[in-house]
């Protein structure tokens, strides 16, 4: 959509910081012209699992690699990493990664995730980048549960200069969503971004509450929410798969915002999520400042898995 220009470079720049020796040990076995053997596949497995890709998807990738080797699509160790990179990149075609917009009226983005995944900060980033590109953005503080969550979003709204709809802590989050939808339409906003309270996907009541918020939004604005983003902490391990599954059941997640990708974690679990649940990654968070956001770029992401 042209809003996230130059983000691929930014993404690249923020990634690839200090990392464990894992990757170097991979390159040590990938010596020139060496034949593909079990020791090498073991090392490869270690690399993939250390990226949190998970044992199931790792097994699948290695099986595909073996098949490619048998059918002579790859011949030497030099071909392995390029083969896997290409293979993984294809998980996310470009059309999958675009932000879904409303045909007319405000585009509504509903944001959810487990506690501490980075929802409020990620929303600030989205609001910042959209408003900087001339869009009128309203954020809604539907996290009425956590202490000072409303204040946290209010501070961000003020800093980046977007409007906020909020109620008191402890009030009904669905009511905040209702008011926010009305305001977005009345004020002719381009985007409405709804923050929700962090919840573990195992908390059935809270997941039902989330469904209710979604229903309220759909009731107020046809076809909304246009985008339902699950905020996923890049350090999360295999539990992310269940999270994605349960949140999708509750609010039909359309994309993932992979937060905190500026650390040493590579967020490989999104490969398993795409593979098993077909949910694409749309954005990545790369720092604590509002501008530390980039559109998800499979090339950069995959390079980092093997660098």
């Amino acid at each position: 959509m042209g809003i996230f220009t130059k983000t691929a470079e930014f993404f690249k720049d923020r990634l690839g910081k200090t990392r464990d020796k894992i990757s170097s040990s991979l390159s040590s076995v990938l010596t020139l012209g060496r034949n593909i053997d079990e020791a090498l596949l073991d090392k490869l497995e270690e690399t993939l699992i250390s990226d949190d890709i998970g044992i199931e998807t790792t097994d699948k990738l290695i099986t595909e690699l073996r098949a490619a080797y048998r059918s002579r699509r790859i011949a030497t160790t030099d071909d392995i990493v390029p083969f896997l990179k290409e293979h993984i990149k294809n998980y996310w075609p470009a059309r999958d990664r675009q932000l879904r917009l409303a045909a007319s009226g405000p585009s509504v983005i509903l944001v959810a995730g487990v506690n501490g995944s980075g929802k409020t900060t990620s929303i600030a980033k989205l609001a910042y980048i959209l408003s900087r590109n001339g869009k009128k953005v309203i954020v809604a503080a539907c996290d009425t549960f956590r202490a000072a969550a409303v204040e946290q979003l209010s501070i961000w709204a003020e800093r980046i200069g977007v409007q906020i709809i909020k109620h008191k802590t402890g009030s009904d989050p669905a009511a905040v969503a209702f008011d926010a939808c009305e305001a977005a339409v009345a004020r002719a906003a381009d985007f409405l971004i709804l923050d929700t309270a962090g919840r573990l996907h195992t908390q059935k009541d809270l997941m039902r509450q989330l469904t209710k918020i979604r229903n309220v939004v759909t009731g107020k604005i046809a076809d909304a929410p246009n985008e339902v983003l699950l905020i996923l902490d890049a350090t999360t391990g295999q539990n992310a798969i269940v999270q994605a599954k349960m949140f999708t059941e509750a609010i039909d997640v359309t994309g993932i915002f992979l937060a905190k990708l500026d650390g040493t974690a590579r967020g490989g679990i999104v490969i398993a999520i795409k593979d098993q649940l077909d949910i694409p990654v749309k954005f990545v968070g790369l720092g604590e400042k509002p501008e530390d956001i980039a559109e998800f770029d499979p090339d950069t992401f995959v390079e980092a898995l093997f660098d």
Binding site: D20, G54, L200, K260
Partner: protein, 475 residues
């Protein structure tokens, strides 16, 4: 195919020897399952690798009772080892005198430091302390407000300042606590990435300034493979004293617990199990092991089978005791069982009708070995019917066991006496026991007289070796 082969092999092996042992071949399937389970639980790849290697090496040779598959026993062993690795439990907070005791929390963004600070405060109040929470997260918007609100909810005082200097805030907070008679200071800090050099320097400066008595790493139980990287870095920069594992009320298997313990060696002190402020619990390694491995059904099965096995053996033995037909064979079986069950004292407590009646009787398990050596040098018939042992047999047994003939006769005499004692006990007449003991059933004098300082011969040594191999050394 392979599985059925293994099973056949096991069946043959079992029928030959009466019971199986764990071998590399017969547990390889189970080991693969264990490995997969641990990786799925997010235990670090390298930690899994080392753990699996150590456990399989140590488990080889362990005896498998008839009703079990070696793989099942292996899983039980793995479970026990995981428990050991994550232990020992140490939920103590070490308070200093004079106070205040300063506790600092550190961790990545969103791991749950602020909530944990309030929970810890509440826990301290319950322990009779007067804590002060300090809002030293000056980075995240509204982090201070959040702690103030949580403090109000828990009725705990919160120290905060409108400042950008976390070192100064921490220092003044501690001074404030000293002046106002708080026992404990709980320092909440900003979440930070372990590779953020500026922020890591900042937190070590805070630590240098206030010299916390305890520094805890707060770790999200949903963390994946990266847990080792961050924990290692925080530990190197801050010298952690313990770990608090959060968000365990979810369904994450929590392999990070094992990874963090493995790389830092620091005990897991508490776990967070809910958003409410009383949801802080002490850590239980056994529960965590079960959660990470996720094979509780197999573990329970093995435990039950072992109990059953022990119960059957005990019953057989009791029948023999009642009849007075208890021989040295039974004795040897028992010594084995005694070792397995943790010693003579425990074993006697388990005997039907005996629990508690023995009071403070002392038994030295080490002396059993010498008696074992003698028993092993007997023929099967001699073991069954010790009464046939004459002077010629005595000499042979003594030579075979590296003891003196009078040691052998001493043992046989004592053995007869104890057989009578058991018969009496099984009959329920407790009075018999006392008279027997006063008559001199005393293992100390017996074994001392028998073979003071003498070597135990080869056979016994080999036996001990096997027993030792069955055990798993702690790392």
């Amino acid at each position: 195919m392979f599985e059925s082969l293994t099973e056949k092999f096991n069946a043959v092996f079992k029928s030959l020897s009466g019971r199986g042992r764990i071998t590399e071949a017969n547990v390889s399937d189970a080991m693969r399952d264990v490995r997969k389970a641990l990786l799925e639980a997010d235990v670090s790849y390298n930690v899994v690798k080392k753990f699996c290697k150590d456990v399989s090496e140590a488990a080889i040779g362990a005896e498998v009772i008839k009703s079990l598959h070696p793989g099942q026993l292996l899983i039980k062993i793995v479970n026990d080892e995981l428990t050991k690795l994550m232990g020992p439990v140490d939920s103590n907070i070490y308070f200093v005198s004079p106070g205040p005791t300063v506790i600092m929390l550190a961790g990545l963004q969103g791991c749950g430091k602020t909530t944990t600070a309030a929970k810890l405060g509440k826990y301290l109040v319950a322990k009779g302390k007067r804590p002060l929470l300090v809002a030293d997260d000056l980075q995240r918007p509204a982090a201070i407000e959040q702690l103030i609100i949580l403090g109000q909810q828990a009725d705990i005082d919160v120290y905060s300042e409108d400042s950008k200097n976390s070192v100064k805030v921490a220092k003044r907070a501690v001074t404030h606590a000293q002046k106002n008679g708080y026992d404990v200071v709980v320092l909440d800090t900003a979440g930070r990435l372990h590779i953020d050099e500026d922020m890591m320097t900042e937190i070590s400066n805070v630590a240098k300034a206030v010299e916390p008595h305890q520094i805890y790493l707060v770790c999200d139980s949903m963390t994946g493979q990266d847990a080792v990287n961050s924990a290692k870095e925080f530990n190197e920069r801050l010298e952690l004293d313990g770990v608090i594992l959060t968000k365990l009320d979810g369904d994450a298997r929590g392999g990070a617990a094992l990874s963090v313990k493995a790389v830092t060696g620091k005990p897991i002190k508490f776990i967070g199990v809910g958003e409410k402020l009383d949801k802080l619990e002490e850590f239980h390694p056994d529960r965590m092991a079960g959660r990470i491995l996720g094979m509780g059904d197999v573990v329970t099965l093995v435990e039950k089978a072992q109990e059953q096995f022990d119960a059957e053996e005990a019953e057989k033995l009791q029948r023999k005791m009642a009849k007075g037909s208890f021989g040295f064979d039974d004795f040897l079986k028992q010594t084995k069982a005694i070792k397995k069950m943790g010693g003579m004292k425990d074993m006697l407590k388990m005997m039907p009708g005996l629990g508690g009646k023995l009071g403070d009787m002392d038994f030295d398990d080490g002396q059993l070995k010498q008696i074992e050596a003698i028993a092993h040098s007997m023929t099967p018939r001699e073991r069954r019917e010790p009464d046939i042992i004459d002077s010629s047999r005595r000499r042979r047994i003594a030579a075979g066991s590296g003891t003196q003939p009078n040691d052998v006769s001493g043992l046989v005499k004592t053995f007869r006496r104890s057989r009578d004692m058991m018969k009496a006990l099984s009959g329920g007449s407790f009075g018999g026991l006392k008279s027997l003991f006063s008559g001199g059933f005393n293992m100390d004098t017996l074994t001392a007289a028998m073979s003071a300082g003498r070597k135990i011969k080869q056979r016994s040594k080999r036996k001990r070796k096997i027993i030792r191999r069955g055990k798993i050394k702690r790392r």
